[in-house]
């Protein structure tokens, strides 16, 4: 829960900075890009401490290092000029890879839950709710992100309103699941 709390703290910080930069009409592209790396790293750290077996922990580390490499390449390919606010495309491949990896890790954790029964009351287990939130979020955005990040630029002539709505809805569901997780983490009665 330590890393998850750090993840929530980071998300709050990012949102506040976003609002501030938007109100000041400042370029926040770097923050958008870095956000992906920071949140992925924090969530992977959370999974690293959640998984029990050494080979799973090793896999998490390998995936994280692989993701950093991919992110670095993607960052430079997708953002040749961070100053060009109107024609940038935020990391085209990293978002999709993030979603696929998160779905894989969540499914592995669910498999662990049903196989080894580490908790008696699953609905009061914070990690279950965190994984529910992540599963809904990434299942809902795994097909949307490549589409949106390939096409979406500042002066976009195409209409993505339905996709944006879906993205917002899954974000809301994820946040509700995270809130439930935090509520149960405080009680620790699973």
């Amino acid at each position: 829960m330590r890393y998850f709390t750090a993840y929530l703290g980071w998300t709050l910080f990012r949102n506040v900075v976003n609002v501030w930069t938007a109100s000041e009409k400042m370029n926040n592209l770097l923050l958008f890009n870095i956000d992906l790396l920071v949140r992925f790293t924090l969530l992977m750290a959370m999974f690293y401490h959640t998984f029990q077996y050494p080979n799973e922990k090793r896999t998490v580390i390998i995936l994280l290092i692989g993701f950093w490499v991919l992110f670095s390449i993607d960052f430079f390919l997708s953002n040749p000029n961070l100053g060009d606010l109107h024609n940038h495309r935020i990391n085209r491949y990293s978002f999709v890879v993030e979603s696929v990896l998160m779905l894989g890790l969540v499914l592995r954790f669910f498999l662990y839950l049903v196989r080894e029964l580490p908790v008696v009351n699953l609905t009061r287990f914070p990690m279950f709710w965190i994984c529910c939130g992540l599963l809904i979020l990434h299942a809902g955005t795994v097909f949307l992100t490549p589409f949106m990040h390939y096409f979406n630029v500042w002066n976009n002539p195409y209409n993505f309103s339905t996709m944006v709505k879906i993205e917002h809805w899954v974000e809301i569901i994820k946040n509700v699941a995270f809130a439930i997780a935090m509520a149960y983490a405080r009680r620790s009665t699973y």
Partner: protein, 279 residues
């Protein structure tokens, strides 16, 4: 900037396809969550049921073991009393007759007298062992009478044992009586033999639908961890715990080296089925 209608149409088709795929993914995600929650709950219930069955089986085994132990004690006591006791009595009678035929001041008569005394002592010991093996008072007159007898035997000039028994105390069954008697016997023996206690109090009471037995002494106490780890010394205490586990009871040891001990036994009374296991 106007968009080419063909691109617009293709984009719309792609948009619809992605929407359908996203909805399908979301439905699958929801299905996975529901499945995991449901399956885990089922598995957890199954595990709890298996654990309960294992616990029940263990209790039945323990109960059978104690029933067997009691039956064996009874057989042994009967053999001692009926066979060895009778043979010793016959030997004593024969010796009496022989003694009468011997000269009053002869050394043979003195030898015979000494042998008769030894036989008397042996007979007393056989009766005592037989009585300890199967407390006949317990079977005939109940727990209170048996405990009074136990206390009476333990009391002497150096040791004072007190029994505190509530006025209304009719919650036990014959099977539970045997168990309580054995526990009191073990704890009293421990207090006298190992702790060197001079004052022992045995107290029975009912507290919140629970039968409680407290054995308090002023002995020199002992280190519970050391005793439990010791295979030989901890046998009696482990035996008490095993007996209590059959009826979901437990024992609390408030003990430490250099001071008196308080040992409290708690037996829940709401489950008569468990007590019936002992019968």
């Amino acid at each position: 900037m106007p968009v080419d209608p063909r691109i617009e149409m293709n984009l719309q088709t792609a948009n619809d396809a992605i929407l359908i795929a996203t909805i399908a993914m979301l439905l699958m995600a929801i299905f996975i969550i529901v499945f995991v929650a449901y399956y885990q709950q089922k598995q957890a219930q199954y595990q709890i049921m298996v654990k309960e069955l294992q616990e029940r089986h263990r209790q039945e085994l323990m109960a059978a073991m104690f029933r067997g132990q009691e039956a064996e004690r009874r057989r042994l006591a009967q053999d001692l009393h009926d066979d060895i006791g009778t043979m010793l009595s016959v030997a004593k009678m024969t010796l009496n007759q022989l003694e009468r035929h011997l000269d009053r001041f002869s050394p043979e008569r003195a030898q015979a007298h000494k042998t008769r005394q030894l036989l008397d002592d042996t007979l007393k010991n056989v009766r005592r062992i037989s009585r300890d093996l199967v407390p006949t008072t317990l079977e005939r007159f109940g727990l209170l009478a048996a405990l009074e007898e136990l206390v009476g035997n333990a009391n002497n000039d150096l040791i004072s044992v007190q029994l505190e028994w509530p006025e209304k105390f009719d919650v036990t069954t014959p099977a539970l009586d045997v168990m309580l008697y054995r526990i009191v016997q073990e704890l009293t023996n421990n207090a006298i033999r190992h702790a060197g206690a001079t004052h022992i109090t045995i107290r029975f009471f009912i507290h919140e639908n629970e039968l409680r037995l407290a054995v308090l002494d002023d002995g020199r106490g002992f280190d519970i961890d050391e005793v439990v780890q010791s295979k030989q010394r901890g046998l009696g205490l482990r035996n008490i715990e095993s007996r209590l586990s059959v009826v979901n009871g437990h024992v609390t040891f408030d003990v430490a080296p250099g001071r008196g001990s308080q040992i409290i036994v708690q037996i829940p009374l709401e489950n008569p089925k468990l007590v019936a296991l002992l019968t």
